[in-house]
Amino acid sequence: MNKPANIVLLIDDEPKIRRFLRAGFELNGYVVLEAENAADALKISTFSPPDIIILDLNLPDLHGIEVLERIRSWSNVPVIILSVVAGEDEKVRLLQAGADDYVVKPFGMAELLARSEAALRRYFKTATENPVVVAGPLSVDLVTRTVSLNQTQVKLTRKEYRLLHILAMHVGLVVTHDHLLKEIWTGNQRDNIQYLRILVRKLRQKIETDPNHPRLLVTESGVGYRLQSRLETASAEG
């Protein structure tokens, strides 16, 4: 723990939301900055750059997506969106505009912390670090391209490995259908989500204990897939 504490910038116009976010992040060793509107948020993120930004879409002066676009014009800092149960289209648009992930209100602090940690891990990953991604019982060696489940090596086809590789690079974060299709397929197959669905089904049969109720490679309905960084206990759902 000799690494300096991570700085998180909370952008939300609701004081009550900021209050519990601050408590939650501080309990987990973060330094917290707050902004209640887009103008403040942009000022703070320019003059004292945070390590991660939590951005609510409903701001009094500017829509969240514009704040995101402005931040992305000069910075790759991880951004997690707080959204209400909105259409999948909006989530996809936000991810394409450069958001790292989202959580849907109402959410638990554990969920937001997990997303934040995943985003930070991906952002601060350096080449010297261990190239092995661990997700529960699964480990993926991104250099040797070997996959093992409970220390037993798993044989994957090339496309199955490619899919797992991309998800492992974003472990804990959502990856959109578009992203996956464009990375794995070429030509007009890139537009056919049916290939992706079937590929996921086959990969699940190799890495999940119960492929009908996956706990590692989970579906984000209408958006994409996520490789969970650790197995959640069943009761933690909801």
Binding site: G24, K105, M109, R201, T219, E237
Partner: protein
């Protein structure tokens, strides 16, 4: 019969009266007064009874004057030729003036009648202006007809099946038959019926707007000259026109009222969707978030009692959030904003997500899921179908006792994927089955003991239908459990064909 001769008799009486008066004065003076005084009964007759009694009075006056006042007296002969000219002159003057006076009378009569008609029409239009419903209008017309035309008029209300109400009126049978045979169709021409028994003419005129016929007016306009019938017809048509204008106003008013209500409902829905949902969701998010942070605070985490209280908060918030989401979904449906975003989806993902979302509600039940090995993909809006399945799973849990089994089955059927959810609960009666698809339907059997809004099944079935699927409910009866099956259109591409591309 006697009444017809009364005017002539009265004019003769008038002449007799004047003669009696003149007989009382000096004869010389009487002769000088003759031409002037006899003009009085003539003019009175002309103004009161018209030209013919006046003419009669003129001739009678001349004869009487000759007889009583011009020498030789008591004879119709006249000595002085000058007096002959006087008498003839009197006759001409009195005839001309009686003609003038009677014409004047006819005209004032006509004017007065027209004024009366106008007054009545004005009263009718005043009355119509106060009408805001078709019912008001019908009673206004009926009152007007009864007051002004008595039993000689009737109004027959149109029935929804394009006929007219069985008339209860003293109108002759021919008229009633004709009304019964008229179809209440917009633009139907009016009819004219002649009553065979007394040759009276009845007018039948439909009262309608451009699209709807509201009734038909039948009026007896008697059997006068064609001139009189024409003017009465014009009068009736004036009423019909006035009524039609009112109907149009009522129609427009109703359309505006409908539009206003629609707009209000729309605004309410928008408000709920936008502001209200935000206002409700954001405190919930704060409560949920705060509870989740509180649960990780070391001092709370160590204290079992505090921890269980925090968990209770989280659970209640989750339930409240579920209700709000239900309402939001329902407004989404009614607002017509349901536009499925179809995408090829693995049915397993949908069932898995629905089970995960309802895990807490299903915790007291045994859940058994059986999925076919090679399920085809389905082209649906996964969010909507997931919501539908979650609603059905919650219903299954709500209407069956804890500890019983809820089984979820997903099967492939050529061209379709069938998702079915079976519980061992209260079942569905035949009557309830009829009502199930209705919004806000709640069976009386459960109203007292199971909480709910009656939205769940309605949301599920609406979402399924919006995705091109069908939903069926079957139950062997009360207490025998329920099976709800959703059939969704499936991919016909061969799965192994898709899969083979990946075997590299």
């Amino acid at each position: 019969m006697r009444a017809e001769f009364l005017p002539s008799l009265m004019s003769l009486v008038g002449v007799a009266l004047v003669t009696a008066l003149l007989l009382m004065v000096d004869r010389k003076a009487a002769v000088a007064l003759v031409p002037v005084t006899y003009l009085i009964p003539v003019t009175v007759a002309a103004t009161q009874w018209g030209i013919w009694p006046a003419a009669l009075a003129s001739i009678a006056s001349m004869a009487v004057a000759d007889f009583f006042f011009f020498p030789p007296i008591y004879s119709f002969q006249i000595e002085n030729p000058e007096e002959v000219i006087d008498l003839l002159l009197f006759l001409v003057v009195s005839l001309v003036s009686s003609n003038l006076a009677s014409r004047l009378k006819r005209e004032t009569d006509a004017l007065r009648r027209r004024e009366r008609e106008m007054q009545k029409l004005y009263e009718l239009s005043q009355r119509l202006a106060a009408c805001f419903t078709i019912g008001d209008l019908v009673s206004a017309i009926q009152d007007y007809l009864a007051a002004n035309l008595g039993p000689q008029a009737a109004f027959f209300v149109a029935t929804p099946d394009s006929h007219f109400e069985p008339p209860e009126s003293k109108a002759p049978k021919a008229v009633l038959d004709s009304v019964a045979s008229m179809a209440a169709v917009a633009g139907a021409p009016g009819r004219t019926i002649v009553d065979a028994t007394n040759q009276e003419v009845w007018l039948l005129r439909a009262v309608s707007t451009e699209t709807t016929v509201h009734g038909v007016i039948a009026i007896n306009i008697g059997n006068g000259t064609s001139e009189a019938i024409k003017s009465k017809t014009a009068g009736v048509e004036a009423i019909v026109e006035e009524v039609a204008l009112t109907l149009q106003r009522i129609d427009i008013g109703k359309a505006m009222e409908d539009a206003r209500l629609h707009l209000q409902a729309q605004l309410l829905r928008d408000a709920f969707h936008g502001t209200l949902s935000h206002e409700l969701c954001s405190p919930l998010a704060a409560i949920q978030g705060s509870a989740s942070v509180l649960a990780t605070v070391p001092s709370v985490d160590k204290d079992a009692q505090a921890r269980s209280l925090v968990e209770a908060i989280s659970e209640e918030v989750a339930q409240l959030d579920g209700y709000i989401q239900n309402l939001l979904q329902a407004t989404r449906v009614t607002a017509g904003g349901l536009k499925p975003r179809l995408e090829w989806t693995d049915p397993r993902d949908i069932i898995d997500a629905a089970l995960k979302r309802t895990a807490r509600r299903l915790a007291a039940h045994k859940v058994l899921s059986v999925l076919d090995e090679d399920l085809p993909l389905i082209n649906v809006d996964s969010g909507l179908i997931e919501e539908a399945c979650a609603q059905l799973l919650q219903n299954a849990a709500k209407y069956s006792h804890s500890g019983s089994t809820i089984s979820v089955k997903v099967q492939a059927d050529p061209g379709w994927v069938i998702l079915s959810i079976t519980d061992q609960g209260v079942g569905v009666t035949a009557d309830e089955q009829q009502e199930l698809g209705r919004r806000s339907f709640r069976s009386e059997r459960h109203q007292a003991n199971v909480p709910g809004s009656g939205l769940g099944f309605w949301i599920a079935s609406t979402f399924v239908k919006a995705n091109g699927g069908t939903i069926t409910v079957s139950s062997r009866g009360p207490g025998m459990g329920t099976t709800v099956s959703i059939a969704l259109p499936a991919s016909d591409s061969n799965l192994s064909e898709l899969a083979v591309l990946d075997n590299e």
